[in-house]
Amino acid sequence: MTPLGAATRAPADRSRATAWMLGGAGALAALAIWTVLSHVLATGGGVINRLPDPLIVARELLRYAVTDLGRDLLFSLRVFAIGWLLGAVCATLLGLALGRVQTLGDIVLPIVEAIRPVSSIAWVPLSIVWFGFGLTSKVFLVALAVFLVVIVYAVDGSRRVPADLARTATMLGMNGWQRFRSLILPGTLAEVLIGSRVSLMAGWGTVIVAELVAADFGLGAHLIAVEQSYNVPAVIATMICFGFTGYVMNAAFSRLERSLMPWRRDDVGRLE
């Protein structure tokens, strides 16, 4: 697919080694800049109140990891998983209906389009009024975030049946149900899978905001608690936990997507 793909094995290995070395150098340089900055800012740093050096943050991360991280992570992930499943399933079902039944789509899709620019984040205060501070309000927000992304992919996938496949189906004398099962449904699910990956970050970001605004447990609740006690190292350590979790989810899902749909190898979300 890429021009690099045509190269032979040996240069590819060498270029990978270079990438590792340069990447390592870049990461080290970033850490060095961070360390220097933390010392400069410690002695009269102007607007930035305090920047702890990487070692202090690492120590804090370790301390958090052996204490409450497991509990908080589990809590946040539970909210995320329930909301994400709920949102994706609803979006798939509704997307199929709206995509295939044209009149229904014409009536309902404009409303969906009108709601879409109101990001799920804007629903946070309303969701608290409706569902309070518990699990339900966060699940609702995550489901909404995921729904608003996946519905687009579901409608698109259900409509975009390749013309030659449709003709083949007609030629084979497929009835409506057979067409749906072997033509429309797989196409839709393939798009939904992509939409689900795209929505991962929207959903995870919504978990963060929802927990920052109102939560008892979870990574976001921890983040806001350490922020209120002015514990900058713990704030940065928690941010790293958020980033790492997001990264792992994205990587796992990209891998799943590649193995389920090897023919779409080219547009998995990566830098190169």
Binding site: A19, P117, S119, P125, L271
Partner: protein, 254 residues
């Protein structure tokens, strides 16, 4: 039914029918279950709240503050993002060096930075401007780098053949070839940046639309909350439509 009439039905009549049904269901839910306005106000209560908001100075101040934070951060983030992204696209070596740093920061979504920006910058505009810049920056870096690295190699070869130097090639060929992709990224970044402003204002702000709707929520003024959400949505859609239009007019030659 003739073709224009059916197009009219599909574009105007059915969507209008959808809106009417939605409003009717909304109204019927409120009436049928006798929901108090705190839980779900009627559509006309929301419209009334919108009209009342539009008459107050405080509302326009909130809109102005949020827009100011957004525009300043967006400009900063887009320019920096395109610059770094272009460097990453042009130089393989720089790309390899920067990738781990960009990739690891990229996954710390802007929302996770909100508490830290409050500790560093208080509830000032600076924190929010930098937050928006951060949000926009990574969208722009990733797509600019990818777009420039994937510019049709023939174009570069033609440029080299015409005797262009590295900088001219980068500026006059690669950046222009990548412009449509950068334009669509700029549009996506606008939506993300706008919502980052709102989220930041929930958690620590002295003015802004995010603060306005959280305050309304704590005082259980649900009509104002929904009116605020509508304003946030309309501004968000307007901003990305404007940026989409501008970038299509200026950058997209396809």
């Amino acid at each position: 039914m003739s073709a224009p009439a059916s197009a009219f039905a599909r574009r105007i009549v059915l969507p209008a029918l959808g809106v009417i049904i939605a409003v009717a269901v909304w109204e019927a839910t409120v009436q049928g279950y006798r929901l108090p306005a705190i839980v779900l106000p009627t559509p006309d209560a929301v419209v009334a709240a919108l009209v009342e908001l539009a008459g107050t100075r405080a509302f326009w101040r909130d809109v102005g503050v949020s827009l100011y934070e957004f525009i300043a951060g967006y400009a900063l983030g887009t320019i920096a993002g395109i610059a770094v992204g272009a460097l990453m696209g042009e130089s393989r070596r720089f790309r390899m060096m920067a990738t781990p740093v960009v990739e690891s920061l990229r996954f710390i979504v802007p929302f996770a930075w909100i508490p830290l920006t409050i500790l560093w910058f208080g509830t000032s505009f600076t924190g929010k401007i930098l937050l928006v810049a951060y949000a926009v920056f990574f969208v722009m870096v990733v797509s600019t780098a990818r777009a420039i690295a994937h510019v049709e190699p023939t174009l570069s070869r033609v440029g080299t053949m015409l005797g262009m130097g590295r900088w001219r090639l980068a500026w006059q060929v690669h950046l222009r070839a990548a412009a449509p992709t950068i334009a669509s990224a700029a549009r996506a970044a606008a939506a993300i940046g706008w919502i980052a402003v709102v989220a930041a204002e929930y958690i620590g702000a002295s003015a802004g639309l995010g603060l306005m709707i959280t305050n309304a929520a704590t005082s259980l003024a649900t009509p104002v909350v929904i009116a605020g959400m509508i304003v946030i949505g309309v501004i968000g859609a307007g901003v990305s439509a404007l940026i989409g239009w501008l970038s299509r007019a200026r950058l997209d030659y396809r």
